[in-house]
Symmetry: C2
Subunit: 368 residues, 2 copies
Amino acid sequence: MHMSPSHDPSIASDPYLSIADAETLILTREDIRQMVLQTGLDVLMDEMIARLTAAMSTFRAEDASIPSRQGFRYTHPAPGLIEWMPCMSDGGGRATIKIVGYHPSNSGERNLPTILSTVSAYDTTSGHLICMMDATLITALRTGAVSAIASRLMASPRSTTLGIIGAGAQAVTQLHAVSRVLDIDRVVVYDHDPFALSTFPLRTRTVSGHLDVKSASCDQVVESADVLCTVTSVGVGDGPVFNGVEPKPWLHVNAVGSDLPGKTELPLALLHRSFVCPDFRNQAIEEGECQLMPPEKIGPNLFELVQNSEKYRFVQEGLSVFDSTGWALEDEVAMTLFMELAAEFNLGMQLPIENVTTDALNPYHFAT
Amino acid sequence: MHMSPSHDPSIASDPYLSIADAETLILTREDIRQMVLQTGLDVLMDEMIARLTAAMSTFRAEDASIPSRQGFRYTHPAPGLIEWMPCMSDGGGRATIKIVGYHPSNSGERNLPTILSTVSAYDTTSGHLICMMDATLITALRTGAVSAIASRLMASPRSTTLGIIGAGAQAVTQLHAVSRVLDIDRVVVYDHDPFALSTFPLRTRTVSGHLDVKSASCDQVVESADVLCTVTSVGVGDGPVFNGVEPKPWLHVNAVGSDLPGKTELPLALLHRSFVCPDFRNQAIEEGECQLMPPEKIGPNLFELVQNSEKYRFVQEGLSVFDSTGWALEDEVAMTLFMELAAEFNLGMQLPIENVTTDALNPYHFAT
């Protein structure tokens, strides 16, 4: 991948090109596969981490509009939710909207990922739909990448053991991303589902060939970890996913699973002893571990740590928690990367979806 | 079109068919064109009116989740907004989300419709994206159809003259729809833009061949109308679009243009003398003519009139206003119709967009 700063793909830089013919770039899962294979997983993850870091380092809340996600939550026909995550980060130019479904029975009952998602980009000059693509992989990649950024800032730089609780799809990119920024040599994993647990080494072998990946009891995972990722589908009100076990005094936790009111993963006592950094405070208070925290005990947002890393270096000495609920800015950054890759590799198809015409005032133009 | 009650297209009735291969039906503007041409505009509009009436007659708020639309509103690079309109109407099964852009400078500066839109349907069992299609035409069609329903219920049955203020794209379907349910023989139109005004007869000739379509001054339009559609892009704070003119005592107004806080079309005095029925009260209070109304003076929602037409027949004798801001249920009904037409005519393409796999727990499945 040659993503030099001068790289300037037409799709990303000239929305008017797409407006002129009003076509929409559709990237299929085969396009995504080609981009990943041609780029390589390590290069892709490193690029995702670098771009997310860059986006956070220049982020200014006053230039962005990123409302808390909203959605439909239901228990029938199966428990699940469909949420929309809009983002307009640069004060104009482009807006992205990710639609994400979370259906924990998918993998067991339908052999589909728990998280299914697509993301769309709109030109804010005209409202034109520029691009629509899969965001299932994007979601996993950026969720891993943001844990890596948090771990680099908050975990002890001497961390060597990564603990993982919950060995599903999201755990794969957590392992990959965190091991790209810390000198991890050992991974200990727990899942209450024996199938997920037993298949984890095979599922991660491409990105963990140099690592010793072992399963362990939940308590052993917590006790031995320097960095811990909790990546579970714990039910609402069923948390915490571990308790009554003393971690290392410098443990950093990436708490990834919380994404619903009432759904939390960590013991209250650990939260109260830790420096807690949310990805997006307003959303974390509604859906993340921060639900359990008094507002005055919640630390700064991750982008503030990125922008003031020296000031917060002390966090690496003690207990810390990154409360990752998923921030729409991450999706926008990830989508832009894949749109640029599509241009570089000439992938995707341009489809004339919106019903535009040379007679803009006539919705019945094709019948007159 | 043979849309008998037993019509049972696989796409609409069996979402599992799509889930199994996790493909997404994409309908392009050419597919839409084929559906419209093969169906015929009159049959299509009649079907839209019939289905919307049916959906409203069985609508129960407690079975639906239709949040007020939200969006990005901005003035740079051009004044506009991008909004999301989610709808889950039947207590599960399917959710739809329409994304709609409103950019008044589109037609003048980019030869694009002011309204550009797409709509997507999701299976609520799995979160799978079932279908994505243009909603530019759908928006125009359903906005016309719902004005027809309101006019049939609230206008005098002896109405023969239709007045239109604002001769843009939405005016075409207003004329078409209202003339399908009332014995309109004369249409008087005003637009401050001479181009829009002069081209209106040509743009509507397919659906107004039997009508006498004439331009007139704004005051003449208001004075002569039995039914009036205001379909303008009036600026925020620039309303009302007419004032100081006495309408017929039985005038029914379909106020279609209001869709922003501060953007209203009608004189306060007329609203205060009229029976005012919003499409969706909560949204109309934020964005419609109802912004100007004390809450206790706002009448029932349109679906309540549909469900109690005898009770509200008295409205036909006096002044009435339908405050049409655009209700997501209308888009869901319209989308379902087009999905069924696509199945009937075997149109659209199934694309594998979501990154699903036989190994649902492995986002890196294609690289292992």
